[in-house]
């Protein structure tokens, strides 16, 4: 176990290194992305730009620039080229919002996907199965910016059931926190519920007539116990894999559409705005931040695996 975690940490360093280089390179080859121009503000003179270029080190070779920027990320001195605001501060401010969105949505989509997947598998071929399958496909096909906008308009603005945007920290008022987040959670979950429940359904159908499920029935267990204790546990593993990946991605700013639609001002929204302005430092920092979480959640998922299926050894 200890060796496993250490090994994962080492591989994480490799992942972060590769991703940072890739991101950095992308922004160096994009046309019209000269940071000196961004820093100089409107209508600068050639001399001003040159001065900034020298001052910030943009005249140095690319690898020196990269090294400098990485150093700044880890010392916390990284500053946005556009707003000159400290990137670390901004991420620290946005991360709790994104994290709140991710954790609530991840629980929501997992719970509903398991319930739906199991139910449709048990009723496979019946009316309920077909109806819910169509519903799941609709959930998968609806873009979040559209369903989010609809929710905002009807539930938020027109009928005033839920607040329109805004965020209350969990530490301030847990109830208000959840109340403000219900719409984003739901909008983000719909897609995942659709996908996960479909996958779980087919996994359950694969295992529901397996020999050990038959043994469980031959023991005289009620069907509900056969399903929950024997079938479900063996069907969950692929879902858990996906869950780790998706959760990591959402924490790392992957839910930028949801964040933007509901104006959550999370990490995703921040990175989206930074990309629009070709502002390298925040993008690089958020990408690293996201990659970090993807690797961490994957490590956690692998540990969950080993508990779900003792045949899997952590090495």
């Amino acid at each position: 176990m200890k060796r496993f975690v250490i090994r994962r940490l080492i591989s994480m360093i490799a992942v972060l290194f590769a991703i940072s280089i890739a991101t950095f390179c992308i922004f160096n080859v994009i046309p019209n992305s000269d940071p000196a121009q961004r820093l100089a503000g409107r209508h600068p003179t050639k001399g001003q730009i040159e001065a900034i270029r020298r001052q910030w080190g943009f005249d140095k070779p690319v690898y020196t620039q990269y090294a400098k920027m990485m150093e700044k990320i880890f010392t916390g001195d990284l500053v946005s080229y556009v707003s000159q605001v400290d990137v670390d501060k901004e991420i620290l401010q946005d991360a709790p919002r994104t994290f709140s969105l991710a954790i609530g949505a991840a629980i929501m989509w997992m719970v509903f996907a398991i319930a739906l997947g199991l139910y449709t598998a048990v009723r496979a071929g019946g009316f309920a199965d077909r109806f819910l399958t169509v519903l799941a496909l609709i959930g998968i096909s609806m873009p979040v910016f559209w369903i989010g906008a609809l929710m905002n308009y009807y539930l938020g603005f027109k009928w005033n059931i839920f607040p329109n945007g805004g965020y209350v920290p969990l530490t301030e008022d847990p109830l208000q926190w959840a109340y403000h987040l219900i719409m984003p959670w739901t909008a983000l979950s719909l897609l995942f519920i659709g996908i996960y429940s479909r996958i779980l359904r087919s996994n359950v159908l694969d295992t529901i007539n397996d020999d050990y499920a038959r043994t469980a029935r031959a023991k005289g267990l009620p069907e509900r116990q056969v399903l929950l204790r024997h079938v479900l546990r063996n069907s969950l593993i692929p879902i858990v894999t996906l869950w780790g990946l998706d959760f990591g991605a959402v924490v790392g700013g992957g839910a930028l559409l949801t964040e933007t639609v509901f104006d959550l001002q999370g990490v995703g929204q921040y990175v989206a705005e930074s990309i629009a302005q070709l502002d390298v430092p925040p993008v690089l920092a958020v990408v690293m931040f996201g990659a970090f979480f993807v690797v961490v959640t994957n490590t956690v998922v692998d540990i969950i695996y080993a508990t779900l299926d003792p045949r899997i050894r952590l090495t």
């Binding site: 397996d210 020999d211 043994t215 031959a218 023991k219 005289g220 267990l221 546990r233 299926d309």
Partner: protein, 357 residues
């Protein structure tokens, strides 16, 4: 002689499956009785319906396309068409099952002790600790060394033989009166097979349970069976005591089965005798006797289905489905009666010139 009340009465059991090729009659009118304490072996080749018969008794034939007819009484309870709740009371507690492939029949992600304790707790109100204690006891009884440690093992940490012992312990855990063993030793190598059968026979005898042993291995049958039912293409074609079947087989299919066992006590034939042809497709079977296309002794009457009835005058309990007269059969059958099994008792009888025609 007072008649012993059978513990299980199956009459005219029919199971068919609707498929693209038409109606497949997997089990076509199977009738038998199981007496308390006896071991009934159901033998036949793959696809003859023996496993489906066994599964159907416990309502484990789960297919939306399956159709059932006939009846199966356990005591006063009708098993066919019983509700799930009724079946749950019986499964594991009254009638327990031992499956063939212990590698896939045990839940791979659950400790074996838990899997056994789960069955005990499904039927009896006992605490976790008590159930665990009983599980350890059971594991020791089926011959698992270090049972108090192995109880926490996962199936993948055990050998095939040990896992099959776990399956037996599981089946015995609620002291059932009927055990259905579906090819219990087929997946094991011969030495382990012998050990496990021996232990199984001892335990069953101690408990006084009846056993339905589904197998295609006649060696296993001679080891533990009291009575044999030979199945072919969904029907029982012959039924009788171990000695009746082995020493005075009436049905040509039984002759073929017995004749295809390699023998150490005879000159080695060039080729091992086999039954010519293949079993019929269950969707499209011959009229009358199902063996007709493969049987060298077929005649006009075989186009009508022969009923399963007593045809040997001296043995009223020996039933078969063949129109030939008893004398004709004794003349025609190619295999000589004699030692087939491994039981020493039979060898003694043979040297005395005991059984047979």
């Amino acid at each position: 002689m007072t008649r012993v009340e059978p513990i299980l009465r199956v009459s005219d059991l029919k199971v068919s499956f609707a498929t693209d090729q038409g109606l497949v009659r997997a089990v076509d009118g199977v009738t038998f009785e199981l007496l308390p304490g006896e071991v009934l072996a159901v033998v036949g080749e793959s696809g003859c319906g023996k496993s489906v018969t066994a599964m159907t008794l416990l309502g484990l034939t789960r297919s939306p396309n399956a159709r059932f007819a006939g009846s199966a009484h356990y005591g006063d309870t009708e098993l066919l068409g019983a509700s799930d709740a009724e079946l749950q009371q019986i499964r594991g507690a009254k009638i327990a099952m031992i499956f063939q492939d212990s590698a896939s029949s045990l839940n791979p992600v659950q400790r074996i002790g838990k899997q056994i304790a789960e069955q005990i707790q499904a039927h009896e109100k006992v605490s976790d600790a008590q159930a665990r204690e009983r599980t350890i006891e059971l594991l020791a009884r089926v011959g698992i060394p270090n049972a108090n440690k192995r109880v926490d093992a996962y199936p993948f940490e055990m050998s095939g033989g040990m896992r099959q012992r776990v399956m037996i312990a599981l089946a015995l855990s609620c002291d059932p009166s009927v055990l259905i063993a579906d090819e219990p030793t087929t997946a094991l190598d011969v030495t382990v097979q012998a050990q496990i059968l021996e232990r199984f026979r001892e335990l069953v005898a101690q408990m006084g349970a009846s056993v339905i042993l589904v197998t295609h291995d006649l060696g296993v049958v001679t080891d533990i069976a009291d009575r044999i039912a030979v199945m072919y293409a969904g029907r029982i074609v012959e039924q009788g005591s171990l000695d009746e079947i082995f020493y005075d087989p009436q049905h040509p299919y039984t002759w073929g089965l017995l004749g295809s066992i390699p023998r150490l006590d005879r000159p080695r034939p060039k080729r091992l005798p086999t039954i010519p042809g293949l079993p019929p497709s269950l969707a499209n079977r011959p009229q009358g006797c199902h063996l007709r296309p493969r049987c060298p002794h077929e005649f006009d009457q075989c186009a009508k289905t022969p009923p399963l009835q007593s045809r040997v005058p001296a043995a009223p309990a020996h039933l078969d489905r063949c129109w030939l007269s008893c004398d004709q059969k004794r003349e025609l059958r190619e295999i000589e009666p004699g030692v087939i099994g491994l039981r020493r008792k039979h060898e003694v009888e043979l040297t005395k010139g005991g059984a047979g025609a």
